[in-house]
């Protein structure tokens, strides 16, 4: 019998059959988890709220609540920025927004096509869900494997989650409604296309995953040179504060600079390792500089980055011999 893994997982989901693949002890431990995040928004700036995730890697314990999602009061409805890792998150987020603001949600803006940022879309199907055209294309291509991976990483929290694709193209520039100057920036580097929001009224940059703060940047879809160019653009906007995709709110541009320094170190380190002829498993064991010791999820995230980036880097150092 030939089944690809995705259809296998798909077929199992929604039933308890997936549970059968796990040892019973683990399964009963999962059954005891209360599927509630306790999401509470906090204000990052006047009219801008965020739900701050933990600076961890995905786990069943944290339910994938490792991401920041936001909403902005435009004066003519709320703009929601990203919807979290699953249906439960999206629904809880929607309820918390309703409690926090009498204004209706006007639209959702998705930062990029990574599953912890859009799998809560099911709670927002009554409004337009906007994403950049390259983000929409990437999501169409990878939604299946990404959802499979999330089932593996956060398990029961994914119950009932389906991918809801974006409904409309997001364009760069000032949002055409609302009473604040809220600008959409369409950049790239963390993935093929990364959207950020810059609120000119308060100087707040909602950076999506172009910026991480005290949490190691992730690189499964990254193009580092293009990411660095995007960071230059963001820094040139001189934000007063930055709401990153992962990590807390920071004043000024420290988070942009930390993300840049880490990416520059990563690229230089892997380039040097390949030039020295290190095998990939050796490159994974290189030391992390003291400068980054307070950054969460290291060295784990570094090791993942070697897997993502080293094959192309080492290939470039090996000349043809036939």
């Amino acid at each position: 019998m030939i089944l690809d893994r995705r259809s296998l997982v798909r077929g199992l989901m929604g039933s308890t059959a997936a549970a059968a693949t796990l040892p019973l002890a683990r399964r009963s431990a999962l059954a005891a988890i209360e599927l509630r995040y306790g999401l509470e928004p906090r204000q990052a700036a006047p009219g801008i709220w965020l739900f701050e995730g933990r600076t961890e890697y995905f786990s069943v314990r944290n339910g994938g609540n490792i991401v920041n999602t936001c909403f902005v009061d435009t004066g003519e409805g709320l703009v929601v920025f990203d919807t979290g890792p699953c249906r439960i998150y999206g629904e809880e987020m929607r309820a918390a927004i309703r409690r926090a603001s009498p204004m209706p949600v006007r639209q959702v803006v998705l930062s990029h096509a990574h599953p912890d940022h859009y799998l809560g879309n099911q709670a927002f199907t009554d409004v337009p869900i906007m994403a950049g055209p390259a983000t929409r294309a990437m999501l169409q291509e990878l939604a299946g494997p990404f959802a499979d991976n999330m089932y593996r990483l956060i398990d029961v929290w994914m119950r009932g989650t389906e991918t809801v694709p974006p409904t409309e193209d997001l364009a760069a520039g000032l949002l055409p409604f609302g009473r604040r100057r809220l600008e959409v920036l369409l950049l790239a580097g963390h993935t093929r296309q990364d959207a950020a929001l810059f609120d000119h009224d308060t100087g707040t940059l909602i950076a999506g995953d172009l910026v991480f703060w005290n949490r190691a940047p992730t690189t499964p879809s990254a193009d580092i040179p293009s990411w660095l160019r995007s960071l230059d653009r963001l820094e040139a906007m001189a934000p007063k504060r930055v709401v990153p995709g992962h990590g807390g709110v920071s004043e000024g541009v420290v988070a942009i600079r930390q993300t840049r320094r880490y990416l520059e170190w990563l690229a230089a380190t892997l380039g040097e390792a390949a030039e020295k002829g290190l095998a990939m498993a050796e490159a994974m064991r290189l030391p992390i500089p003291a400068e980054f010791q307070d950054i969460a999820v290291l060295p784990g995230e570094y090791v993942r980055s070697v897997s993502h980036l080293y094959p192309a880097i080492e290939q470039a150092t090996l000349p043809r011999i036939n």
Partner: protein, 270 residues
């Protein structure tokens, strides 16, 4: 007296072999199968001098990088890399002539479990070391992504390589081959993989013979440490796959640290 001490030390060293075989330090339920299939009745010991470097978690099941290093054992005749839980147990075998017991490569993992290296010393004992690698699975039964490229067959057998002089005088050689390395377990793709790769010096003497198995990753990148005779200018790589396609190339050795390209230019004039 001194002779007696040596004999005593030797007795202490071999004593564990005489008793019942020790338990698998990785507590794998599949160890017995691996042991029987790969080593038969030969003596096997778990030995921390056989170091296996691998990530604790496989980020990409199709490309799990490992380095196996048994140099601490001294003389080694052959190394075998294997993953207990893979449907095809053996990853690769390295037969050493003038090479060190050291190899880097990437493998496909069908599910998480131990990845190990066994090194046979001249006394016939297999020394085994390894680590557990967690993996989501599906690595061996997924078709090679190269089949999505229309022109993959035209690139088949392309080789890349480079040598570095290590501070201790060894030649670190890295090789890359363009090959799908199909396991035969993915629907519609029969087994098709490089099954032999010889590295010889310019006089034709064998330095190392690698016998990759199906689990080696697509477009394999192999890292070796060779000990050719001083003055050897280049090494030849000659391999074949399971369909008897030949792979052939040669690369200049580096006799000055960090200057492989200078040597390469010299080599190409000959």
């Amino acid at each position: 007296m001194r002779r007696m001490m040596e004999v005593l030390a030797l007795l202490v060293a071999i004593a564990p072999l005489a008793v019942a075989e020790e338990a698998d330090p990785l507590a794998s339920g599949l160890w017995d199968r691996a042991r029987a299939e790969l080593f038969g009745n030969a003596p096997v010991v778990f030995d921390e001098r056989v170091v296996l470097l691998a990530p604790a978690v496989a980020e990409d099941n199709l490309n799990v990088p490992v380095v196996a290093d048994a140099r601490a054992l001294g003389e080694v005749e052959v190394m075998v890399l294997f993953a207990d839980a893979n449907p095809i147990l053996r990853i690769a075998t390295l037969e050493l002539s003038r090479a060190e017991p050291f190899i880097g490569l990437s493998l496909k993992m069908e599910q998480g479990g131990p990845v190990r290296a066994a090194a046979r010393t001249p006394d016939g004992v297999w020394h085994v070391g390894g680590v557990n690698v967690a993996a989501a699975g599906g690595g061996c039964t997924a078709p090679a992504s190269v089949h999505a490229a229309a022109d993959w067959a035209q690139h088949l057998g392309e080789l890349w390589g480079r040598a570095w002089l290590e501070p201790d005088g060894a030649q670190r050689v890295r090789l890359r081959a363009y090959h799908p390395m199909d396991t035969g377990l993915a629907f519609g793709h029969p087994a098709f993989f490089i099954d032999q790769l010889d590295v010889t010096d310019d006089a034709g003497a064998l330095l190392a013979r690698l016998r990759p198995g199906e689990p080696v990753s697509q477009h394999p990148v192999i890292t070796l440490r060779l000990r050719p005779e001083a003055g050897t200018r280049s090494v030849r790589v000659r391999g074949r796959d399971s369909d008897s396609n030949l792979l052939e190339g040669s690369l200049p050795l580096a006799w000055r640290t960090g200057a492989p390209d200078g040597d390469r230019r010299t080599g190409s004039k000959e």
